[in-house]
């Protein structure tokens, strides 16, 4: 009775409810939890049987003891009734827990595997898939699979068994009355499935409307300053009201369906009882049916509805779970575009004469044949400081990404000490590079934790020294908690400049062999920038560095400058040489200092 009225939310559904290939794979995932699942099916069958006994025991009590006025027999049967009910409770409870537990454990593994896979996937994958989508894989898709293992699969057996059981018992008691009574079943199925389908469609619509509304809301909260600056309050409020009103309309439609459905089901079961009264009553008059049978039938009819409704629901769960598992497996099966080299096969060998870094005829495109780098060749010797300049989109940042092996080149090769970087374990390779990127990513935690990010075991002393080196200590020591000051997600409480100082400290703490700065000083005022550069030149004496900057002043002290233009390495040399050449660099330089219009 109670469960009838509980609204059950459905998952977003796509795809079909059953796919044998997927099912086999999912079954493989169950692993050692299979025992638990089998055991719960067993417990469930026993529990359902115990539950079925109730009306049948009532029938016996009425026909055999009450009508015959056998008081001791009545006591006996009531005691049996209570024992059977207690048994049903114990069986159902343990079964529920066992399935839940198995489901949780399977879900845990699946989530761990998906996350682990995401740690292995290469950067191109992250370029193509927005974070929100990836989050869905780790969170709600895995959750949908829990529904499948935790309640769906096992319960389906239970529901089918209950339906078969009720039918069988009814037929055993009186097959004619059973046939009559069960004639309402098609109506019940029809009503239930029609309702399910309509509610499912509405549910999908609701989900997408909620997503739209919340998306709009979030955007407005984040960008409220802009909304206010541009006087858009009224217009945006109207838009919000209309989204919110649309959602309400869909809810009202859903309510309409539920409001129709519940009374309809009551009506169908009333119809069944009426049939029992009329048909069973007529049979009773001829003596073909006892009054106990009538009572038992009425009670069985009331128990018929729940499994039918559950099955309709389970179908949706199954569908959602299949769709979710397909998405999860897609992640798990995704090939790793930049495969790592096993550290075991790696023998560090340094060719004495080879330059530290060498780009040899490198061609690279993010997509198809839109070449971002075209036949780029250069080398950087140990201890050299090299700047890469060029207009936006010239391919400067790409060079850094390639060096880190976020991507593999399509043609040509990148060598480190004369060795192709594909042969170097990623961890070794990346440990050599210290990066301070344009967009500083700060993790939630404390200032010190952020500085320690690449070297968790660094001492407090080391953290402080490094911060002093890059002058980050100036702002850190002004914070109430100093190094222990908490930083929120994305470092929203810090200014751009402060975030960059933090990134400097983080990179330098690892004492990288090669320091890479990408536009890193764009938002730090000149004074801080110069001090940092002095600090860097001190720290990195004898270290190689690559600096990318739009501002030429940042790169004045470099040994060599590479000028990229539309993916081609156009000029290369010292500042003086390039100025003398009167080429692209010369033009960039003039613009920077306002010494004349573009040549």
């Amino acid at each position: 009775m109670s469960a009838k009225r509980k609204q059950v939310e459905e998952q977003d559904v796509l795809g079909k409810a059953y796919d044998s290939k997927l099912a086999r794979r999912l079954w493989g995932y169950v692993g050692d939890q299979k025992k638990k699942l089998f055991a719960s099916v067993g417990l469930l069958l026993l529990g359902a049987t115990a539950e079925l006994a109730g009306p049948w025991l009532s029938k016996i009590a009425i026909d055999r003891y009450i009508v015959d006025k056998d008081v001791s027999g009545l006591y006996k049967i009531v005691i049996i009734f209570v024992i059977v009910s207690a048994l049903a409770l114990a069986l159902r409870w343990s079964q529920s827990y066992l399935t839940g537990e198995a489901g949780q454990i399977i879900m845990y593994r699946m989530r761990r595997d998906v996350f682990e896979k995401m740690q292995r996937l290469s950067i191109p994958y992250f370029d193509r898939n927005p974070v929100g989508k990836l989050m869905t894989r780790v969170t709600s898709d895995v959750q949908a699979l829990y529904e499948l293992f935790g309640s769906g699969m096992v319960a389906i057996f239970g529901d089918i068994f209950t339906l078969i059981g009720i039918t069988a018992v009814m037929f055993a008691i009186n097959w004619k009355l059973a046939l009559l009574t069960l004639s309402v079943i098609p109506i019940l199925l029809l009503v239930t499935f029609a309702f399910r389908k309509r509610v499912r469609d509405l549910y999908r619509k609701t989900r997408s409307q909620i997503a739209n509304l919340n998306g709009y809301l979030q955007e407005n909260i984040i960008g409220m300053r802009v909304v206010q600056l541009f006087g858009r309050e009224r217009a945006n409020h109207e838009r919000f009201k209309s989204l919110s009103g649309d959602l309400k309309q869909t809810y009202l439609k859903t309510i309409f369906n539920y409001a129709l459905f519940f009374p309809a089901v009551e009506l169908v079961s009333a119809l069944a009882v009426a049939i029992i009264i009329w048909g069973g009553g007529s049979m009773m008059l001829t003596g073909a049916v006892t009054v106990g049978t009538l009572v038992a039938f009425i009670q069985y009819v009331e128990r018929f509805y729940r499994p039918v409704r559950d099955l309709a629901e389970k179908y949706n769960i199954l569908q959602a779970a299949m769709a979710a598992s397909e998405r999860v497996f897609q992640v798990l099966d995704h090939p790793i575009e930049v495969p790592d080299t096993s550290a075991l096969d790696y023998v560090e060998k340094t060719e004495v004469d080879a330059p530290l870094i060498e780009f040899r005829n490198v061609w690279f495109a993010y997509r198809g044949d839109e070449w971002v780098l075209k036949d780029v060749s250069f080398d950087i010797r140990e201890g050299e400081s090299v700047a890469v300049v060029g207009a936006t989109g010239a391919g400067k940042t790409t060079i850094i990404s390639l060096l880190q092996r976020f991507y593999d080149v399509q043609q040509g090769e990148i060598l480190l000490h004369g060795r192709n970087i594909r042969e170097i374990p990623l961890q070794e390779l990346r440990a050599m590079l210290g990066l301070v990127l344009q967009d500083v990513f700060v993790f939630a935690g404390t200032i010190a934790e952020n500085i320690r990010y690449g070297k968790a075991d660094a001492s407090d002393e080391e953290v402080r020294e490094t911060s002093e080196l890059v002058l980050a200590n100036r702002f850190i020591e002004k914070l109430p908690g100093k190094y222990a000051e908490p930083v929120v997600e994305r470092g929203a409480t810090l200014s751009t400049g402060q975030r960059q100082l933090l990134a400097f400290a983080r990179a330098l703490l690892c004492r990288p062999k090669i320091l890479v700065l990408d536009e890193a000083t764009a938002s730090i005022d000149t004074e801080t920038e110069q001090t940092i550069q002095e600090a860097i030149s001190r720290v990195l004496e004898g270290r190689t560095s690559i600096i990318i900057a739009h501002r030429l002043s940042t790169i004045q002290r470099c040994n060599r400058i590479l000028v990229l233009h539309h993916g081609v390495l156009r000029e290369q040399g010292t500042h003086e040489e390039l100025l003398a050449q009167g080429g692209i660099y010369h033009r960039l330089y003039q613009l920077q200092f306002g010494l004349g219009e573009a040549a």
């Binding site: 009225r5 009450i66 409870w93 407005n220 206010q228 541009f230 990010y453």
Partner: protein, 580 residues
């Protein structure tokens, strides 16, 4: 629970729905409560002999009661649950409107996620109070009243014995509900920790890779994941009990009726029909007994949520439009700062005693170290913040005496972080001036040098940008936000380090185009480079919230302070390079 009274004003709007809904609830439960009675009559008559016609009559009566009762039940749901969704929408729209009035400081104090959860989870809890929390008690009470009345009529003793079940059922549902809620909260806490970490890890994938922190991240995640499962399992233990336990209690009720009712029949004090009707009433009462405990939980949760929502609605916006806006104005674009101080936290001052004047049409520049108060200073003009001391006058009127909309219409601000909405390029451009003509929009796009970029987008100005569209580069975003400000045709233009992500060449082009635009408008440029600011009518140097230097480029050079040093260093580099 008192906080639920705060809902009364919202409910008053729907007085009609609520009244009709309650009436429908009463009628439907009364009709449903008659059904077991009809069953009793049929069974009793079957014992004593009955015609086939009479049987059909009873069957018809039974179906008829369900049909007519169903119509009223339908009406009840439509009115009462429908009302809850309407109130939900009213509340949601109201909160949104309230949020729009809150100043920047509010958003610095309140995290987006918290505000979102007020408008999702908390609102949902309140909605549950209005829907199920309203409907079920009415349904429950009337069902209980009608069925118990009928039961008492049949057999007072059996009724009292059966009703002994009600307290344990309601209490255990209430208890289980409370435990469930506590566990759910713990699970949700862990879930948000888990997803926070995943989100951070996935957004920072490049940093994780660059520092080879995959293993550590994995270990961190695994720990959170394990704890999450642990918490879920304690929930499973409780949840697994719920339905079996309810079923068991119901069976115990059936057993009691079987025993006591059976004994009554044997003694002749009850008929078999009475017994059948009793079983029917037990079925009807099962749900109300469960509902009492369940609804108690809904109300508790809803009350707590309503407190949070009300707290939000009670937050008075710190910055409100003047109720009597002053209309006396000097020429458009004049700015005066009179001894202005600003403190974000009431302790440290971000600006200290700043005074200066900008004549209409002038261009001033502000330079200074990171954190010296530059952004705070310009934020005062459109009243993103208010001064804690002193006042800011625009066109001779203090900012807090302006009509806020009017004031902000005067100011075109290009903030440091380029925030764009996920809609089309065009909608973003005309964000602050929906009535702007195509020509005006294109002109702004051309000055900002975003026009060529847009021309390369697949759908031109109709291209979607932001989260669900094209991802723009930092430079493109900066130029788009600049154009957005220009379209508004402001009398005061503020560039808060807006071009830092734009390369020098483009910046130079933009500045050249802007010079034309800036004619006749007051402009404030915040920048780091001397080359950007040297042409300004006056340059102010900020240090720790104070103006330490001011004057033209030449004057400041002559002064020999911070600015001169800045220029000296920048030109020294230049000279050094020139010599060699």
């Amino acid at each position: 629970m008192k906080s639920l009274r705060l809902l009364i004003p919202y409910l008053k709007v729907y007085r009609r729905e609520i009244t009709w809904g309650c009436i429908a609830a009463l009628i439907s439960t009364a009709l449903y409560a008659l059904a077991p009675w009809a069953l009793k009559l049929a069974v009793d008559d079957l014992q004593t002999g009955i015609s086939a016609r009479q049987l059909a009559y009873y069957a018809g009566l039974f179906v008829g009661l369900a049909a007519v009762g169903g119509v009223f039940r339908y009406a009840m749901r439509m009115w009462l649950i429908g009302m809850s969704r309407k109130v939900e929408q009213d509340l949601r729209d109201r909160i949104f409107g309230h949020l729009q009035k809150q100043p920047a400081s509010f958003y610095n104090q309140n995290r987006t996620g918290d505000l979102m959860s007020r408008m999702t989870n908390d609102l949902d809890n309140v909605r549950n109070v209005l829907g199920p929390g309203f409907m079920y008690p009415i349904e429950t009470i009337s069902t209980a009243v009608f069925s118990i009345a009928m039961m008492l009529w049949i057999s007072p003793t059996l009724t009292l014995i059966t009703l002994l079940l009600a307290p344990p059922v309601s209490y255990s549902v209430f208890k289980l509900g409370r435990v469930t809620h506590k566990l759910t909260t713990r699970i949700q806490e862990q879930y948000s920790r888990l997803s926070d970490q995943a989100q951070e890890n996935l957004s920072g994938a490049r940093v994780v890779r660059a520092y080879s922190q995959e293993e550590r991240e994995l270990a961190k995640f695994d720990q959170l994941n394990q704890e999450y499962v642990r918490r879920n399992l304690s929930m499973t233990r409780v949840q697994a009990l719920f339905f079996p336990l309810m079923g068991f209690l119901f069976e115990i009720g059936a057993a009691i009726i079987l025993l006591v009712g059976g004994l009554g029949i044997i003694r002749g004090s009850l008929s078999l029909g009475d017994f059948v009707a009793f079983v029917g009433y037990l079925g009807m009462l099962a749900w109300p007994m469960i509902a009492v405990g369940w609804v108690a939980n809904l109300l508790q949760r809803g009350a707590a949520s309503m407190v949070r929502i009300q707290n939000l609605l009670d937050t008075e916006p710190e910055i409100v439009s003047s109720s009597q806006p002053s209309s006396a104005r000097a020429s458009a674009g004049e700015i005066v700062f009179e001894n202005v101080s600003v403190s974000h936290d009431g302790v440290r001052e971000a600006l200290q005693d700043v005074s200066f004047k900008v004549r209409p049409g002038e261009t001033i520049a502000i330079v200074g170290r990171t954190g010296s108060g530059k952004s705070t200073l310009v934020g005062l003009l459109p009243r993103l913040i208010d001064p804690s001391k002193g006042r800011v006058l625009i066109d001779g009127v203090a900012t807090n005496e302006w009509n806020l909309d009017e004031l902000r219409k005067q100011v075109g601000m290009v903030p440091q972080d380029a925030f764009l909405f996920s809609s089309t390029v065009k909608e973003n451009l005309t964000f602050g001036a929906p009535e702007a003509s195509e020509t005006e929009m294109l002109e702004a796009a051309s000055i900002s040098r975003i026009d060529k970029d847009v021309a390369q987008f697949a759908d031109g100005y109709e291209t979607m940008v932001g989260e669900r569209g094209l991802t723009l580069s930092g430079g493109q975003k900066g130029r788009l936000t600049l154009a957005r400000a220009l379209v508004r045709d402001p009398s005061i233009l503020i560039l808060d380090d807006a071009l830092s992500a734009v390369d020098t060449h483009t910046e130079e082009e933009i500045l050249r185009g802007l010079r034309e635009f800036m004619k006749g408008r007051t402009s404030i440029l915040i920048a780091h480079r001397v080359s950007t600011v040297r042409d300004a009518d006056c340059i102010y140097v900020l240090d720790q919230g104070r103006i330490v230097e001011s004057g033209t480029h030449e004057e400041l050079i002559a002064l020999g302070g911070y600015y001169a040093d800045l220029d000296h260093r920048q030109s020294l580099e230049q000279e050094l390079e020139m010599e060699s």
